[in-house]
């Protein structure tokens, strides 16, 4: 008896929560949170910026992995591409811009131009690399992308063209904007957070639109069955190539932001261990969900930060992540977001007959919103959730 009652109450509570969490309110809450964070302690602002950048990195990667079914182990190449693009522009062209547009505004102009150049560089690299890579599938695709990433690593370190400054990398000095007495440091933690937040939110919205477009729908179909897609007249290789380029470009934007945040573009960005961060964050968060890589990046960075608070454990943080990854892969294939969905279904869905019936009348409007928001949470629709 009492158990049923509890079930009913839990279910009622669940429905009430589900009803409250409409897309608009969720968005508003997110926006308020993003604004509030700008006023937090400087280190927390920095950490959150770091999270946003890694989230975008993983999100771009997941367009190819979770949505199209290709596991790249070389996306660090495009992360580095964006970073080096802006770093080299800032180093070599900064003074030129100062002459053209005036020293006051030039740091900002150089930053924007550098970002665009970084993005363009990434696309230029991704076109041939992608064209070759999509000729292969599965493990061979993972290996060829890994090889391209390490090729980039080696080129950056050897520096045959004298552009990348070898193992030291290129220092990124964002400078100070001076507008008639008011001076703001572009690289200052709060301003850089604002720049990053706006960029990442815009890029995330862009990816969201892409995965819900005809283009993204075809990506999902290719992930499910490339043969079938081909037999319906879809040029699978070409579509994968296009997805590769878009995915690389998103990662390139993250790379541009990374350079400014770290104040350096370093060869480690294209090392396979950096590429692996995108893979790990995505798997922990849940590759089958749009929000998976974002949640995964959050868990990755904040747990790492949490561990770093305990110096005795810090040396072992990779061990800890290894264990976490094993747990996710063995018991939580859908990742953290999958776990949350499961929890929500428990609370809202089959909570117990009485409560559900009681909540029925109120819930009539809720299911629409609930289903809609579950679409919006954008399961990439792979595998089963229940």
């Amino acid at each position: 008896m009492s158990a049923t009652d509890t079930g009913g109450r839990v279910s009622q509570f669940g429905s009430a929560v589900a009803e409250g969490w409409t897309r608009e309110r969720f968005g508003l809450l997110g926006a308020v949170a993003l604004i509030l964070i700008a006023f937090g302690p400087p280190f927390q602002v920095y950490l959150f910026t770091d999270f946003l950048v890694v989230a975008l990195f993983a999100l771009g990667f997941n367009l190819l992995y979770g949505y199209t079914g290709l596991l790249s182990f070389g996306h660090g190449l495009f992360y580095a591409g964006g970073a080096y693009g802006i770093a080299i522009v800032l180093r070599d062209l900064g003074p030129v811009f100062a002459d053209v547009v005036g020293a006051g505004i030039s740091p900002l102009v150089t930053f924007v131009v550098g970002g665009v150049v970084g993005l363009a560089l990434v696309v230029v690299v991704a076109v041939p690399v992608g064209w070759l890579s999509v000729r292969l599938e599965e493990i061979y695709f993972a290996l060829i992308t890994l090889a391209f990433g390490m090729l980039g690593y080696s080129l950056i370190i050897q520096d045959p063209a004298g552009l990348t400054n070898g193992t030291d990398g290129v220092i990124v000095l964002l400078g100070t904007v001076d507008l008639g007495g008011v001076s703001i440091r572009v690289g200052g933690r709060r301003l850089y957070y604002v720049i990053s937040a706006i960029t990442v939110v815009a890029a995330t919205y862009g990816v969201w639109r892409i995965v819900n477009s005809p283009f993204g729908t075809v990506c999902k179909a290719i992930r499910e069955s490339p043969d079938r897609a081909g037999a319906l007249g879809i040029d699978v290789r070409h579509h994968r190539w296009m997805t590769f380029i878009v995915s690389a470009a998103i990662v390139g934007i993250a790379g541009v932001l990374r350079a400014g945040l770290a104040s350096v573009a370093s060869p480690g960005l294209t090392h396979w261990s950096t590429s692996a961060i995108a893979v790990i964050a995505t798997v922990i968060g849940g590759a089958t969900y749009f929000s998976g890589p974002i949640v995964g990046a959050f868990i990755f960075l904040y747990i790492r930060w949490g561990i770093s608070r305990f110096p005795a454990l810090e040396a072992y943080w990779e061990l800890f992540f290894g264990a976490l990854l094993i747990a996710v892969v063995l018991f939580f294939k859908q990742g953290a977001v999958g776990g949350l969905h499961l929890l929500r279904d428990r609370l809202v869905g089959d909570g117990g007959g009485g409560g559900a019936a009681e909540a029925g009348s109120r819930a009539t409007s809720a299911p629409d919103e609930a289903t809609e928001s579950s679409d919006d949470d954008a399961r990439t629709d792979r595998g089963d959730t229940s």
């Binding site: 005809p214 079938r228 037999a231 319906l232």
Partner: protein, 257 residues
């Protein structure tokens, strides 16, 4: 009567083995043609040649493309090019987009047919003419009531029907069905047979079927082509072919039916 698909001396060699041996065949648009044969007769290889999955060792394949009466050479075409030219297929082992819903499956096929797959700015559900076509097709194949069900939760028979809906969504001139009743229970078989008849009557597509179930073959075929050891053994109406001694012999010689 028009020829919609034609092969000329089509041959496929795997090392020493000749899987398809100089097959010349013309498929006409006014009949349902069945291609039958014992296991290992080369039916699947023949299908894979027609659909561009395998490249022939010799010979050529011609297909009526679009609304024209001219046959185009698709011998060296890749699978997606063959599909675009007007040949669609279903698979022996169900091959659909399992993780997507029934409606999304059909939508993908329509997006492919409309040529809007590179459109990354619109919403996938935003094209009204595509959506109308999707609904019409779901109606036609009797899938409307499960349109929003994820395909991995469907029954085997329902999945086979989705497979048919997918193949028809690209408005093919020729529809190759590879064992449409494989693994089905008798009720499902009866349903799929009546669906095939209906669709054949309603649509312009020409149906070509391979099938192990002889009751189904005799039931739906206007013409039967028997393959044995990669070559055509018999070709004619069901009455002629099934009473042909060589056909009985070929079957009894390997697997009985």
């Amino acid at each position: 009567m028009t020829t919609v698909l034609k092969t000329e001396d089509l041959r496929k060699q795997f090392g020493e083995l000749t899987a398809v041996d100089n097959v010349s065949i013309e498929i006409d648009d006014d009949k349902i043609t069945s291609i039958i044969g014992p296991n290992g007769a080369g039916k699947t290889t023949f299908y894979n040649l027609l659909t561009g999955v395998l490249q022939p060792t010799a010979g050529s394949i011609w297909l009526r493309s679009g609304d024209g009466d001219e046959l185009v050479d698709v011998t060296d075409a890749e699978p997606h090019e063959v599909a675009q030219a007007g040949l669609s297929r279903s698979y022996q082992i169900t091959n659909i987009f399992e993780g997507l819903t029934v409606r999304e499956n059909v939508r993908v096929a329509r997006i492919s047919h409309e040529g809007t797959r590179l459109d990354f700015r619109s919403r996938a559900t935003g094209d009204e003419s595509v959506e109308a076509d999707v609904e019409e097709l779901l109606e036609l194949t009797g899938l409307t009531h499960i349109a929003d069900t994820p395909c991995d939760t469907l029954s085997h028979g329902e999945k086979r029907t989705v497979e048919i809906a997918l193949a028809l969504a690209i408005e093919p001139n020729v529809f190759l069905m590879d064992e449409p009743t494989a693994g089905m229970n008798p009720t499902e078989v009866a349903e799929i047979v009546s669906l095939i008849r209906e669709l054949d009557a309603d649509l312009d597509a020409t149906f070509v079927v391979t099938e192990h179930n002889m009751d189904v073959v005799t039931d739906i075929s206007d013409r039967i082509v028997v393959l044995a050891e990669g070559a055509i053994l018999a070709d004619g109406t069901p009455e002629d072919v099934l009473t042909d001694e060589r056909v009985t012999e070929a079957y009894l010689g390997s697997d009985s039916v």
